[in-house]
């Protein structure tokens, strides 16, 4: 299969006054062409930092300490700013969580969409106003020509998220990174936006990284799901595997804390995410894990192929499932 994005041993650290926060620690994964890769995890798991690193948005005090991000074979981390500019917005489009703040309040939304087109085609944004209206139609904004002359504050949250989506897809990017695109929206609008994203992805033949804390949503839409905890990948596999047979205790915990199809009681995972300045020496989930043993507290587990997916847990040996439930 065609690999679009190949992340190798990526480390993103935040150097703060009281220590180094290892937000993303030694993460490797591949993204295939046309695939939707879902990244799930609670707040502080490093999922957003990972997305930002791929989009080249890490700013001090954040720093990419090691690893490679190969996009179509090119290492993005070695690019100069001017080369980056040619990729951002053209080959990689990003959609963020809060649509309210990502539009400039002093320009009409039509202008801002046109500007995204102009950035990679030259000329003046005015020349692309018709293109902008087409893009607004593509994200199914009703009455696009009229909406194009509205200012951001005149639009609803869902509408703004559509505008941002149209900006992200303006130049038909090969990779779309959606960082919690629905979290700030009303529940009723969320489904529409997700559906729209998937359709656009299909239409453009792009790949997509969909970052969210909503694991059940990923079970519906993703081709593969990556569960992150405290800056590490704990499990990476197909929705089928994750839904029917989640292996890592954290994945199980996540599913049990949100599972709504059964009438079972909701369970929360006791404790909270560990300090990333001085993470526990062994498995980072060990302090909260009901199955943790001595080995878990001392030795860090590595990602291994178990039962058709990758999992980082000592409870499972290569090829088999001897974990206690």
């Amino acid at each position: 299969m065609n690999i679009v994005l190949d992340v190798r041993n990526l480390k993103v650290y935040y150097e703060l006054g009281n220590g180094v926060v290892k937000a993303v620690d030694n993460v490797s994964f591949q993204l295939y062409k046309g695939e939707v890769l879902g990244i799930a995890g609670e707040s502080g798991s490093g999922k957003s930092t990972l997305g930002q690193a791929i989009a080249g948005l890490i700013r001090p005090p954040g720093r990419i300490v090691g690893g490679q991000i190969l996009f179509k074979g090119k290492n993005l981390l070695e690019l100069r700013e001017s080369e980056w500019r040619k990729i951002r917005g053209k080959e990689i489009g990003v959609i963020f969580q809060d649509p309210n703040s990502y539009l400039n309040p002093v320009y009409t939304v039509g202008f801002q969409v046109a500007e995204a087109v102009e950035a990679h085609n030259g000329g003046s944004p005015k020349h692309y106003i018709h293109k902008a209206i087409e893009l607004l139609k593509m994200v199914r904004i009703a009455d696009a020509p009229r909406r194009a002359i509205n200012y951001p504050f005149q639009l609803s949250g869902g509408m703004k998220q559509r505008v941002l989506t149209s900006i992200a897809i303006a130049n038909k990017p090969e990779l779309i990174i959606a960082d919690e695109p629905t979290s700030a929206l009303d529940v009723t609008v969320q489904a529409e936006v997700v559906e729209l994203l998937l359709e656009l992805k299909k239409e453009l033949g792009s790949s997509m990284i969909f970052i969210t804390h909503d694991l059940p949503l990923l079970l519906e839409i993703a081709d593969r799901i990556m569960v992150m905890y405290a800056g590490k990948i704990v499990e990476l596999g197909s929705p089928h595997h994750i839904r029917n047979n989640p292996l890592h205790p954290y994945t199980r915990g996540l599913l049990e804390s949100v599972r709504y199809e059964r009438k079972a009681k909701l369970k929360s995972i006791p404790g909270s995410i560990p300090s990333l300045i001085s993470p526990p020496p062994g498995c980072r989930f060990a302090p909260r894990c009901p199955f943790a043993n001595e080995k878990c507290r001392k030795i860090e587990p590595s990602l291994r192929q178990v039962d058709g997916r990758l999992v980082a847990c000592h409870l499972f040996n290569e090829g088999g499932n001897d974990g206690q439930r």
Binding site: R85, S101, L103, A119
Partner: protein, 303 residues
């Protein structure tokens, strides 16, 4: 295609309409503030007066006549005559072009330099910021009038050096102010978004950062018009401004100061003009600040 084009032209003209609508809203907000509105009218009147002096003054402002020296205001000389018998009204009108013109040009120049430096410092941060802001700090460490005097002394007396002195002494304040605003703006998500669509730093600064600092700049410029009128006049009074016989208002006060106790009008009348002009620009600045910042609307009036 023809039809489509007219439709998109429609959209463009609608965008224009939207913009004029916003401008009208701004003027409306300004109109509600009586002090600011009155100030605006006073400023317009003073500018008109200075412009009229190009085609008409009641008397020749340079023609002296010792026979009628130091006369108090009368019908033939509404504002009296000065120590050399020159008509003060004519001189005030003629001098307005110096006082107002110098202030206007130096404020614009100071703002251009200061805003450019402030945006660069705030946008790039790091070393660029450190270098620019330390220069600004050094400039700010000097008392304004002292720095201006030193500059005029170094460059030589004249209109040009006066403009230079005023703009050099005022640009650091813009730089500091704009940098602070820019620091806030660069952390806004829409700047991240602008980077993400692949815009160059230059375009981001000009198109996304600058417009969002505009309100701060306009307000500061209005305040500084008032200040630079005072500065120009002070230098004129000290004999470092526009050289006599040119009737810059500060120079006029300087010329008449020996007669202050016998015929105070020679000094007081230019003083009143300086005072009113400076006050008007300051009040207009307050009004603009209120009108441009919706958060402050009403707040200032209540207080």
């Amino acid at each position: 295609m023809e039809l489509a084009n007219t439709r998109y032209n429609n959209v463009l003209s609608q965008i224009k309409q939207e913009k004029t609508k916003r401008r009208r809203e701004l003027l409306e907000a300004l109109r509600k503030n009586k002090w600011a509105l009155a100030s605006l009218y006073i400023i317009i009147a003073l500018c008109a007066m200075s412009l009229v002096s190009f085609i008409y003054t009641p008397y020749n402002p340079f023609q002296f006549n010792l026979a009628i020296a130091r006369q108090p205001p009368s019908l033939s000389h509404p504002l009296g005559t000065d120590e050399l018998g020159r008509d003060i009204l004519s001189r005030i009108m003629y001098g307005g072009r110096y006082t107002l013109g110098i202030s206007f040009i130096s404020v614009t120049l100071g703002a251009l330099i200061g805003v450019a430096l402030g945006i660069l410092a705030g946008y790039y941060g790091g070393k660029v910021d450190t270098v620019i802001m330390r220069i600004v700090d050094i400039m700010l460490a000097f008392p304004t009038i002292l720095l201006a005097i030193a500059l005029v002394a170094a460059v030589g007396q004249g209109v040009k050096s006066l403009i230079l002195a005023i703009s050099i002494t005022t640009f650091p304040v813009y730089a500091r102010l704009v940098r602070g605003t820019v620091l806030q703006i660069v952390n806004e998500d829409y700047i991240t978004a602008a980077k993400l669509i692949g815009l160059s730093s230059y375009k981001i600064m000009v198109k996304h950062v600058l417009p969002n600092t505009m309100s701060v700049i306009i307000v500061q410029m209005s305040y500084y018009m008032g200040l630079s009128i005072l500065l120009a006049s002070a230098l004129g009074f000290l004999g470092l401004g526009v050289p006599p016989p040119k009737p810059e208002w500060g120079t006029m006060i300087g010329g008449g100061r020996t007669y202050f106790f016998s015929t105070p009008h020679i000094v007081v009348i230019p003083g009143i003009f300086i005072f009113i002009t400076s006050l008007a620009f300051n009040l207009l600045g307050d009004g603009l600040r209120e009108a441009l910042d919706p958060k402050l609307r009403g707040l200032l009036r209540r207080g």
